[in-house]
Amino acid sequence: MSRLAPFVLVAVLLAAWEIACRALHVPAYFLPPPSAVALALKDNLPTLVAAAGRTLSTAVIALVIASLVAQALAILTALSPLLDRAIRPLASVVQVTPVVAIAPLLLIWAGLDHPGRALVALAVLVAFFPIFSGAVSGLRAADPDLERLFTLYGAGRWQRVLRLRLPSAIPFLLEGHKVGAGLALIGAVVAEFGAGSGKVQGLAWQMLDAGNKLQTARMIAALVVLGAMGVALHALLEAVERAGLKWWRGR
């Protein structure tokens, strides 16, 4: 019963919204009723799904790049205290810089003919930090007594990283990738808004386009697709994290 509670709440809210729109004669460009949104969703589904696919592919490519770069840099910080001192402050700068603020610059650098590259780069910037900071913490989270044993057994620097610190970091890496993937999707959408170009017709562009044409129902339909995609991605990543932890711990 309690599992149904959120669905009941959603149904009640949708009904209230529908009734309010009809009773108060709210203009459709201002706030269309849920039935109109459902209709817009049905009519535009192929376009919206294709747009969602483009946004998702931007996010996934960005996640892969962010993952590789973040982990490589984190391993460098684990190998040398000097590199650690050099890299970590720069990583923080990346974290605190708002994507929207760098979007115009990256669009210029990527070349106006390749806005897709700029979108990926922006999403990479957003996804990078949680993975990097997870990896950095994880690489330092090895059991200190295991570290002592590695010293006792005369382990080399690379042996220590590959056989102790990286495996110890796996739970942190799983968590970092979960957060990073969610942010990559948000980053991709924000970057699309920032780019505002019709060249990459992702979900954000669908919303901008519908907004320009005062097709508010279509805007909300795009938002619904975006939300559904986010929820699905989150569920997938939770499942991956659980499976990964089970594999790591053996139970």
């Binding site: 007594d145 295991l146 590695f150 005369g154 495996p167 790591w248 053996g250």
Partner: protein, 245 residues
């Protein structure tokens, strides 16, 4: 023959002296218990013997080189992502032994501590006592000359402690490494050690160095014998004196 020795070592943590001055020689095949009140620096003394820490003053002699010294910590300290067998094989692999060879020797070491059949188990699937045995197997797999145990059974129940104490002595009888172990438990010290070194409260110095007579490994009912009781009394008295000093 001396396996390891502390020569007038002192260790400072921050402003104060944590240990010493302390001189202690560990002979080949000896089993030495270090007992003393909390904070007297017994674990520090153990880490000095292991070469995991350097003294502030004084020197350390170690005949047992790297790869000939093994440590067992209070917690089993196993890698959760590795099977029991892979955990035991780890020291060999780090020393460059080929994987198949290392795993074969690891399986043998597990069998010696009574864990044949548990090779593929992960640490999370083991009881506290079993995990400690894996830790012991990992320490023994390199056939060390010096085996250091830092309160190894402190977290276990009494029955498991006693079983493990006998197991350690039986394992000791096979290759006779020098053993130094830290414990809070006077009876455990007297049961397992041929020599009990009592430290004063911190900074730890030697309050007493007592020989424990009797055969090794211990015969059944050794705890009921007069030697055991008399030595336990003497160790307790030295401890009380060391705390008061």
């Amino acid at each position: 023959m001396i396996v390891a020795a502390l020569n007038g070592v002192e260790v400072e943590y921050g402003p104060g002296l944590a240990l010493g001055p302390l001189s202690l020689e560990i002979g080949a095949g000896e089993t030495v218990a270090l007992v003393g009140p909390s904070g007297c620096g017994k674990s520090t003394a153990l880490r000095l013997l292991a070469g995991l820490e350097a003294p502030t003053r004084g020197s350390i002699t170690r005949a047992a080189g790297r790869g000939e010294t093994a440590v067992v910590f209070q917690a089993p300290t196993l890698a959760p992502w590795l099977s029991a067998q892979a955990n035991v094989a780890l020291p060999l692999e780090l020393a460059g032994v080929a994987q198949t060879d290392a795993h074969r020797r690891a399986a043998e070491a597990l069998a010696r501590v009574g864990l044949a059949g548990a090779e593929t188990k992960r640490p999370v699937q083991l009881s506290g006592g079993m995990a400690m045995r894996v830790s012991l197997a990992r320490a023994l797999v390199t056939e060390p000359k010096l085996l250091l145990l830092d309160e190894p059974f402190a977290a276990l129940d009494e029955i498991t402690r006693r079983t493990l104490a006998d197991d350690v002595l039986n394992l000791w009888a096979a290759t006779r490494p020098a053993i130094v172990f830290v414990t809070h438990n006077v009876e455990e010290a007297v049961y397992m050690a041929s020599r009990v070194v009592v430290l004063t409260r911190g900074p730890g110095r030697i309050a007493a160095d007592l020989r424990v007579d009797g055969p090794m490994p211990r015969p059944p009912h050794f705890r009921a014998e007069a030697t055991f009781r008399a030595t336990s009394e003497a160790v307790s008295a030295a401890l009380a004196e060391g705390v008061a000093a």
